[in-house]
C-alpha cells in the first residue's frame, strides 16, 4: 500500500479547537518483513504558525489518526497538517475551522 490522501476535521469545542486528522500510510515495521516505511514527522500549523511538532515511530498504527487540541481559536482559522516519512515522501492538508 502506498502513502495517499489525508482527511481532516477541525471544529470549535468548549472554546478550543479540536483537530482530527487521518493520514493514509502503510506504517510498516521492521518486523513485518516488508520494507521499513513510516511517517517520521508531523507538523500542525494554525494560520501559518507552527503549534505542534511531532516525531513518531513505526509503532504508530497503519493509516495514522491523530487528535490535537489548540487553545482558543475561531471559526475560519486555517489549520494545516503535514507529514514526512523515512523515504522522503510527504503530504499535507489544510482546512478551515468549522
Amino acid at each position: 500500500m502506498a502513502a495517499g490522501p489525508m482527511k481532516m476535521r477541525a471544529t470549535m469545542a468548549g472554546g478550543n479547537t479540536d483537530v482530527r486528522v487521518l493520514m493514509t500510510h502503510p506504517m510498516t515495521t521492521a518486523q513485518s518483513g516488508q520494507p521499513l516505511h513510516f511517517i517520521q514527522n508531523v507538523v500542525v500549523k494554525q494560520n501559518g504558525r507552527t503549534v505542534i511538532e511531532a516525531e513518531i515511530s513505526q509503532a504508530v498504527s497503519r493509516n495514522p489518526v491523530f487528535s490535537f487540541r489548540l487553545k482558543g481559536g475561531a471559526k475560519g482559522d486555517k489549520i494545516e497538517v503535514s507529514w514526512l516519512d523515512n523515504k522522503g515522501e510527504s503530504n499535507k492538508i489544510e482546512t478551515a475551522v468549522a
Binding site: T29, S32, Q40, V51, Q58, R62, P64, K71
Partner: protein, 145 residues
C-alpha cells in the same frame, strides 16, 4: 556514459533532499533505543518524577495490538512536550510531541503494541520531566503490520 548520468542525477537528488531532511529533525538515537530507559536517557529525561497530573486513557485489554487507541493529556502547568513509550516494544519510543504557544498538551493516537506492556508517558514542563504509566494487556500482538 549512462552511469555518469545516473550518478549525476542521483547526486542532484541528494542535493534537493538534503535541505528538506535538515528541516525535519528525527531523533534517530532515541527512536533506535531498545529499552525505555535508554530512550529516556537519550531524550534527556533519565529519571522523570511520577505525576498524577498526566492522564492516560487507554483500554486495559486490547484485543488487537495493531490498533490501540491512547489519549493523553497533561494538567502540569507549562507542559511543552509529551513522549509516549511502549516498554515491551522492540523500539519503545513511539512518539514525541512538542506543544508550542497556542497548543494544549493533548494528543490522541493509535499505536501498535507487540505484547502486554506498560505504556509510559513522559511530560516535560519548565525543563523538568514527569511520568505516568498504565498497563495494556494485548491478546494479539500488533507488530506484524
Amino acid at each position: 556514459m549512462i552511469n555518469t548520468r545516473r550518478s549525476f542525477i542521483a547526486a542532484l537528488g541528494v542535493l534537493f533532499l538534503k535541505p528538506f531532511a535538515a528541516l525535519a529533525a528525527w531523533n534517530e538515537q532515541a527512536f533506535g533505543a531498545k529499552s525505555a530507559a535508554e530512550a529516556l536517557k537519550t531524550l534527556g529525561a533519565p529519571s522523570p518524577a511520577s505525576s498524577k497530573d498526566i492522564l492516560i486513557e487507554a483500554p486495559q485489554i486490547a484485543e488487537n495490538g495493531a490498533v490501540v487507541p491512547i489519549e493523553i493529556s497533561s494538567n502540569i502547568p507549562g507542559t511543552t512536550a509529551i513522549a509516549v513509550l511502549i516498554e515491551k516494544n522492540p523500539f519503545p519510543l513511539a512518539g514525541k510531541f512538542e506543544f508550542k504557544e497556542g497548543a494544549l498538551p493533548f494528543v490522541k493516537l493509535n499505536v501498535k503494541i507487540g505484547e502486554t506492556s506498560d505504556v509510559r508517558v513522559v511530560a516535560t514542563a519548565g525543563g523538568k520531566h514527569f511520568a505516568a504509566s498504565t498497563e495494556i494487556k494485548v491478546t494479539i500482538g500488533g507488530c506484524g503490520g
